[in-house]
Amino acid sequence: MKREPPQSVADYGPLFFPAGMLLIFFVVPFGTMIAVSFFQRQEGGFYTPAFVFSNYERFLSAFFGGVLGFSLMLAVTVAICCVVLALPFTYLLSRLSRRLQVIWLVGLLSVLSLSEVIIGFAWSTLLSRTAGLSNLLVKIGLLDQPIALFPSFGAVLTGMVYQALPYTILVLYPAIVRLDPTLMEAARTLGSSPMRAFFNVLVPALRNTIMATLIMVFIFALGSYLLPQILGRPQHWTLSVLITDQAIYQSNMPFAAAMAVFLVLVTLGLVALTLLIGRKGEKA
């Protein structure tokens, strides 16, 4: 079947609905947010329409720079952990029988039905001193007395990786299943060990998929604000937590909006940079 380029306005018809949705639910709210970020904050009240840069000025400090840096670092770490765990797992999964694959995938999907609140509270119980996993270690003699494993950076990372892992696997799964199995067979025939074949053949073949997955998990993790609160100390709070504080508890919408706009811009910048480097790497 040959694809005709659209001739008339009517041919673009199918696009109107998604475009309208995008306009109403993304462009308009985002535009409003940008506008509010320039409004004047009335201390002890609300805000008045204006065009001031004070909200951005307040954000440009070492303190907020540090929080932004931590949020980005946390999201990158979560993304890398997820892909490192999910890639071998998904590869092994794709080599199982169809039946077992379905069971695994249904199990993973069911994790997605858990809300962030449940995940947070479940992990805080698992990592607690009074009822947590360290009690098992005491039982088998590895520890003298139970210890609290949260709040800590490790707890935040664990919770967030747990939450993002099913997404990672579901994104990687189609690409890995579709991968030509003869690639690996050829590598093995040419005398490469399974590990070597995995890293020298499979990983490069999935380069673009891996990149896309990293970016997706990164953005997913950047928006997290509940798990850092439940499982972390204040120094592990992300910028999203502070945005929530300003918007809900301080009713300082202009400052919250300015922080959110800044976060979006930095995120988009980083994603663009990653894609750019990726493209250069392909050319080389």
Binding site: F121, P234, I248, Y249
Partner: protein, 362 residues
């Protein structure tokens, strides 16, 4: 599909509707109640459930005004929603229970309809500080309920109850405290000032505030959890995971009565007494009903019921109440309370918030 359509309205449903219809006709109360109604915003969860069960039905019976209770979020989200709605001429709730800081913020945009005290005769029962006034003296809100934030401990871990807020600063309590995460709801600056600097007047100047911040910084190593969500701390307190902290006196009492090993102590410097006001949105058309409601809620008998059933501390004078000493002690204390410096959270809110966030996050 066919079978579903055919079923339609069952005979049972028709009979049921008939019974309900007759019942409604037989009880003119309900019909009348439908003529007059009032939307009342109360904090969602425990508060709303208790009010729905113990207070609102009695009010409808007494006045014929039906109450539709609206669950409002804590924090200032509800204030923002009311303000936005009022700009558009709508009122998601006619009367809302508002925190003191929210009352002051709402005053700046004249969000609250000034109340006519002549229509609220019971307001004379109130303790003076629970009447929230505009700068020109008109009344913006009337005390609905008050509650205490006290020093709470797990009784398994602390056999002896602590007697002073200074326990937070005790080096022996390293990594054992759960404290509220926001400057405007933990009131820890006031606690620090009262405990170490002779009273909340020490916070009058910026210098005094900085001194309080410095003193408060010493608590940081003792804090395991800075919580926004009450459930987060309550669970840990019950299990002994985080055995000490600040929490609400009413909910702690409830947990103790259910057999959990927790206790709430009024320290010798006093508990922190916070309160909520009934306030009427300027977009509401139910001005008369609102006045009747607020007057009803200010009766000593209703305040006593609230203390017994909801566990809140009364906003009317002690001598007017028929609460026994034991009942009164369960919800309040004769120790002079620490009253939060609400003025600071409007005049210096951004500065305080910035310093506070830097203190606990930095």
């Amino acid at each position: 599909m066919d079978t579903i359509l055919k079923t339609g309205v069952s005979r049972r449903a028709v009979l049921g509707a008939g019974v309900v219809g007759t019942a409604v006709l037989a009880m003119p109360n309900i019909l009348r109640a439908q003529d007059k109604s009032l939307k009342v915003g109360v904090y969602g969860g425990y508060f709303k459930d208790s009010f729905d069960k113990n207070i609102f039905p009695e009010f409808t019976k007494a006045t014929g005004i039906a109450v539709e209770s609206v669950a409002e979020p804590t924090g200032e989200a509800w204030l923002v929603q009311l303000e936005q709605a009022a700009k558009a001429g709508a009122a998601p709730a006619d009367v809302s229970m508002m925190s003191q800081v929210a009352m002051l913020k709402g005053q700046t945009t004249k969000l609250w309809t000034p109340l006519d005290m002549a229509k609220i005769p019971n307001s004379k029962n109130l303790i003076e500080r629970f009447v929230n006034k505009y700068p020109d003296g008109s009344v913006a809100g009337i005390g609905a309920v008050s509650w205490y934030i006290t020093l709470v401990t797990n009784t398994d871990v602390y056999k002896e109850a602590p007697t002073s807020w200074a326990a937070f600063w005790d080096k022996a309590n390293a990594d054992k405290l759960g404290l509220l995460a926001l400057v405007s709801n933990s009131f820890l600056l006031e606690v620090t000032a009262k405990t170490f600097f002779g009273g909340t007047n020490a916070l009058d100047t910026e210098e005094g505030l900085l001194k309080a911040f410095d003193k408060l910084a010493e608590v940081k190593p003792n804090v395991r959890l800075w919580y926004r969500d009450e459930a987060q701390f309550e669970q840990s307190l019950k299990s002994g995971e985080i055995p000490m902290g600040q929490y609400y006196h009413d909910v702690t009492g409830l947990a103790a009565s259910e057999g959990h090993p927790v206790r709430s102590t009024f320290p010798k410097e006093g508990g922190v007494q916070d309160s909520g006001c009934w306030a009427l949105s300027r977009a509401s058309k139910k001005v008369d009903e609102a006045h009747i409601f607020i007057d009803y809620m200010s009766q000593p008998a209703i305040q006593a019921t609230l203390s017994r059933k909801v566990g809140t501390s009364p906003t009317v004078k002690r001598e007017l109440l028929d609460l026994s000493d034991k009942e009164f002690a369960a919800v309040s204390s004769d120790i002079e309370p620490i009253i939060p410096r609400y003025d600071l959270y409007t005049t210096k809110s951004d500065w305080l918030n910035q310093k506070w966030t830097e203190l606990i996050v930095g």
